[in-house]
Symmetry: C2
Subunit: 306 residues, 2 copies
């Protein structure tokens, strides 16, 4: 099946579509939660919600696969055909493990989704900073028109410089968080996609060997099948698959990150990194507090930790 | 994550579990349909129903992935960050294609499921043949006890021979169909698992390259980002992915089949084979009709076509 990516070097919706965001998304009670989110974080809030649906779908697929695997084995036994019984049972073990990989994948997607929440939270926290700056600017303009000699103008101008400084920091934090966490989230997600794929290939290739142990030469009515003699070989297939899975190692090229140093996917499961080492993301760094005098709003701060 | 296949060289449920079949299966109206199916085909009917649930889960995953891909691109545009905007859009294209592969996979699972239905139908059609033989046997025994000189006994004995001959053919057909179609169904399913995996690896590996075009070096408040200069390279990534997908070829070892000759998965998409060339599966072959005289019930028939 040839890929039709040619027609889509971009997936961006037209502006008209975008007005009612969400694509195939339908309204429901929980949708309104998204609408209550601050404007700036609304799109990502919805995406994170959709990601949750995708994760649920993979979990369901994993559950069904396990259930089907057990049913296949039980059906095979009920046929009272030694070959079908043994192979359906072994095939069931392999299919259950393929299903287990869907579940591991869902967990990794959940980790990736957790990383996106950092961006959403940052967006939500930057919104009031933008609004505060705008509010003070508006107040000064109003006062200068109504009461140009008011001493409150000077106070407000001091306040504006502080608001601007705070907002500059917030915007830098937003940019840093957005770029770093976007890379991290999809680093995890794509590495997980590759891991699931490579492990399922191992399992499926070995599982195909099992099928060859069922002799399906046409039977003449009244004749009996030759005895089944592949039990040891079939068992060996499971052991080979297990050994190959154990020996599996990730071979993905690390994603470079100036902020993080190493690729998350290089460091193994990734999950442990999500809550680690970035507690300053949502804090206003000390730099913002040094600028309480009306002076150049250009911060002389250190780079904002992401 | 090490595989725990060791604990499971078999996935067969204990007899106790098997009494209430279906595992995590819950009762619903449609469950009762399974119960109404002939005893012999009940297990496989349920398995086919569960497989439908699994297919639905993969379809849902594919849909969500496409929706998320579009949302990611739109969010990226809204950040007004050139790098994030371009990469999120291109990443969206790749994620949508990964989602498309889930959908192709679901279609292939549906083909595999269609092949299992041949076995279920054969099981359902063999059941009356077994019952008929038993019924005639019981009638003869009853009559021999009640009215040993009845001429109907001879008639019934003729009928029994015919019933036995028909049943022998039916059982041979069942064995042939079960073995051939079991191999064929899982040949398709496992080849599809490998195809999805290989294509998603291509897509995910290229998609990871995109992430490297986002510079996430920490920004100092008030500083602007350097201009984004990777648009051409990012576009090239999509073209590379498309070229690799186009060049993809299946490398699975064919599953051998004495009945079918070649492996289904070797012959391409597989779907077209499902309704082809096996119209005799559910027909009673001519052999059964030749044996209307009470003689050895051992059929001198040709091998039953699967």
């Amino acid at each position: 099946m040839p890929m039709a990516m040619n027609r889509a070097l971009s997936i961006r919706s037209s502006r008209r579509d975008r007005e009612n965001t969400g694509g195939r998304h339908r309204f429901s009670i929980s949708t309104f939660r998204g609408i209550q989110a601050p404007e700036l974080s609304r799109r990502l809030s919805r995406l994170i919600k959709s990601e949750n649906n995708a994760i649920g779908a993979y979990e369901a697929a994993g559950r069904e696969r396990s259930s089907i695997a057990a049913q296949l084995s039980d059906w095979g036994e009920s046929t009272e055909d030694d070959a079908v019984s043994d192979i359906s049972d072994k095939l069931g073990v392999m299919l259950a493990e393929i299903g287990e990989q869907e579940d591991v994948y869902a967990q990794n997607l959940e980790d990736s989704r957790g990383v996106l929440k950092h961006i959403r939270n940052m967006e939500a926290s930057v919104q009031p900073s933008r609004e505060q700056r705008q509010k003070v600017t508006d107040e000064i303009a109003k006062l200068k028109y109504k009461d140009p000699n008011s001493t409150r103008i000077t106070t407000l101008e001091h306040e504006l410089v502080r608001a601007e400084a705070q907002n500059l920091v917030a915007e830098a934090q937003l940019s840093n968080t957005t770029r770093t966490k976007l890379k991290e989230a999809y680093d995890i997600q794509l590495a997980a996609t590759i891991e699931r794929a490579e492990k399922q290939i191992i399992l499926a290739r070995h599982a195909r060997r099992l099928l060859n142990y069922i002799d399906d030469s046409p039977l003449v009515p009244g004749d009996a099948r030759a005895g089944y003699e592949h039990e040891v070989e079939a068992r060996q297939v499971l052991e080979d698959a297990e050994a190959d899975l154990r020996a599996w190692e990730s071979t993905v090229e690390p994603v470079t990150s100036a902020a993080r140093g190493a690729s998350v996917s290089e460091q193994g499961e990734g999950a442990s990194l999500i809550n680690g080492g970035d507690s300053m993301v949502n804090d206003v760094p000390p730099a913002a507090k040094q600028m309480e005098e009306p002076q150049s709003a250009k911060a002389e701060a250190e780079p904002v930790p992401y």
